[in-house]
């Protein structure tokens, strides 16, 4: 930017002195750990030495493979349900709520977003447990005789995730809807389109790239999360992060945990590449 003004007086040392601490921290505590993890994933748990078994195990052991399938299924369900729930909600906040109340309405809508992850999952356990709020309400009102098995199921994991991501997506989609210039809607109305047609042909397509970004963010955060499936899903079916933590906790098998982490990251990267390409096609 203003290099000519600065370089004379400051010399070359100052700018490097400013950026080196941050770069050094990132190299030392982010890049180097990553390399260490890569090396670790290629060593045998018993006795060390180079091996590829940590990776081949993933493909040959059906329970590991199943964890990845579970993770992908849960993440896909969560992403779709969250987008479908959040979009109308964000639309109502942006279009139906009077302007002066919008800030407050949005702040309220994302308030529980700031509870800690662990506490939020535990709160859902209170709601879904055998003697929890929902089962007490249903048995109390005589709708069902026996309490339903809600906790420790995939449904519980999905509910906990959807709760979090509805808030996140409401934030991003709301911002997207507010960024739309009102002149688009006016133009559509001038050309004779009713509110439904305006929405389907103007508002929805223009907010689609924003939805994709939110959906991708949901995918990445959801597939890497350990807490929600561990607290709400229990150990009935394992997701990838649970599998990784299990290798460390029970067996101290760092090489296998490293390999599984790297595989998980590879899947996210592939999803990113697929998503990025799809986004570009959408824009063209």
């Amino acid at each position: 930017m203003s290099s000519t003004a600065n370089s004379g007086r400051a010399g070359r040392a100052l700018p490097w002195a400013l950026v080196t601490p941050a770069l050094g921290w990132t190299l030392l505590f982010f890049v180097l750990p990553f390399i260490a993890m890569g090396f670790s994933s290629l060593t045998a748990h018993e006795g060390g030495g180079f091996t590829l078994t940590n990776y081949s195990q993933f493909f040959t052991n059906p329970s590991y493979w199943q964890a990845m399938v579970n993770s992908l299924q849960v993440t896909a369900i969560v992403t779709v349900v969250s987008v479908l729930l959040a979009y109308p909600f964000a639309w109502i906040l942006a279009e139906q709520v009077p302007e002066r109340w919008q800030r407050l309405a949005l702040m309220l809508a994302v308030l529980p977003f700031w509870t800690s992850y662990v506490v939020r999952s535990y709160s859902w356990l209170l709601v879904l447990a055998q003697n929890g709020v929902i089962n007490r309400a249903l048995t109390g009102s005589g709708l069902i005789a026996e309490p339903l098995q809600l906790a420790n199921t995939r449904l519980a994991t999905v509910t906990g995730f959807v709760h979090f991501f509805v808030m996140l997506l409401t934030l991003t989609i709301f911002a997207n809807l507010k960024q739309l210039s009102p002149s688009y809607r006016k133009a559509a109305a001038d050309l004779g389109a009713g509110p439904v047609r305006t929405f389907l042909h103007v508002v929805l397509p223009l907010t689609l790239p924003g939805i994709m970004v939110g959906a991708f963010l949901t995918f990445v955060l959801c597939i890497g999360d350990y807490i929600t499936p561990q607290i709400l899903g229990g150990n009935n079916e394992l997701l990838m992060p649970q599998l990784v933590m299990m290798q460390i906790g029970r067996r101290g098998d760092f090489p296998l945990a490293s390999a599984l982490s790297i595989i998980l990251m590879a899947v996210v990267t592939i999803a990113y590449l697929a998503c990025a390409r799809w986004l570009k096609i959408e824009r063209a």
Partner: protein, 260 residues
């Protein structure tokens, strides 16, 4: 038609608000009853379990640990983030785009994998599990955030003020401390408070990198082994309250920036 949309909107919005607030209301409500299970019917109010939390030294020391780790790691992250943002915004550096990409890269990786990497590295280097190790991890996740916030706020307006100061003979360190820091204060505070909230809530890195002395989310995790427990409700409500205070502070600094 208009009216139908209106009514449907109200019903839908209230349903979603209900869904969003249901677990939080249940958490706080049942933290306020004296029975030993946080389940219906509600028999409060009572502050018995808050008393139990505040007299539990494991929880209170974990709370102090959390505040220490959050404030020190956030201060470190915001300092490194500010200095690098200033360096990249004010000077032309070779490979600037690539280096900025490197600093923001940790944002794209899940906490679990960042924690795993540090665990493997520290294990290999013989660094023991400790609060310091967890704090280092928290700086890794918050530095890119602080950098991105502060870097995005460094505009031409500030450059001109800095230039004026230099023309009047101020040395570089004086420009930094007396001009840039005060001008950038809202962004610096925003980065700091956002880091505080993330570090305060962070679980998996602390879980992997600490042992006996640990942070509050990990201690709450340990409480979960006892199943539904009103003490967990009480400590969870307290944690929520602290997060809300941090978020309000964050909002206020944002508002001040908008008015300025």
């Amino acid at each position: 038609m208009r009216r139908i949309v209106r009514v449907a909107s109200w019903v839908y919005a209230l349903a979603v608000y209900g869904f969003i607030f249901l677990p939080v209301v249940v958490l706080v409500l049942f933290s306020l009853q004296a029975t030993s299970f946080p389940i219906p019917p509600f028999t409060g109010p009572s502050l018995r379990w808050y008393d139990a939390v505040l007299s539990d030294t494991r929880l209170t020391s974990a709370l102090v640990n959390s505040l220490l780790v959050a404030s020190i790691s956030s201060a470190t992250a915001v300092t490194l983030g500010f200095l690098s943002a200033w360096g990249f915004a004010r000077f032309v550096l070779p490979g600037s785009g690539l280096l900025r990409g490197l600093i923001t890269l940790p944002l794209t990786v899940s906490y679990l994998i960042i924690g795993m990497g540090l665990l493997v590295l520290f294990n290999w280097a013989g660094v023991p599990k400790s609060l310091l190790a967890a704090g280092i991890g928290h700086v890794v996740i918050n530095l890119p955030l602080c950098f991105a916030i502060i870097y995005s706020q460094m505009g031409d307006h500030q450059i001109n003020i800095e230039r004026a100061a230099r023309d009047l003979g101020a040395p570089e360190w004086k420009v930094l401390l007396l001009i840039t820091v005060p001008v950038m204060a809202p962004a610096i505070f925003a980065g700091f408070f956002l880091s505080m909230t993330f570090s305060w809530d962070e679980f998996v890195i602390s879980f992997l990198l600490t042992r006996f002395d640990t942070t509050l989310p990990v201690e709450i995790w340990n409480l979960l082994r006892s199943g539904l427990n009103p003490k967990t409700n009480a400590v969870g409500s307290l944690v929520f309250a602290v997060s809300i205070v941090l978020v309000v502070l964050f909002e206020l600094t944002l508002l001040r920036r908008r008015k300025a």
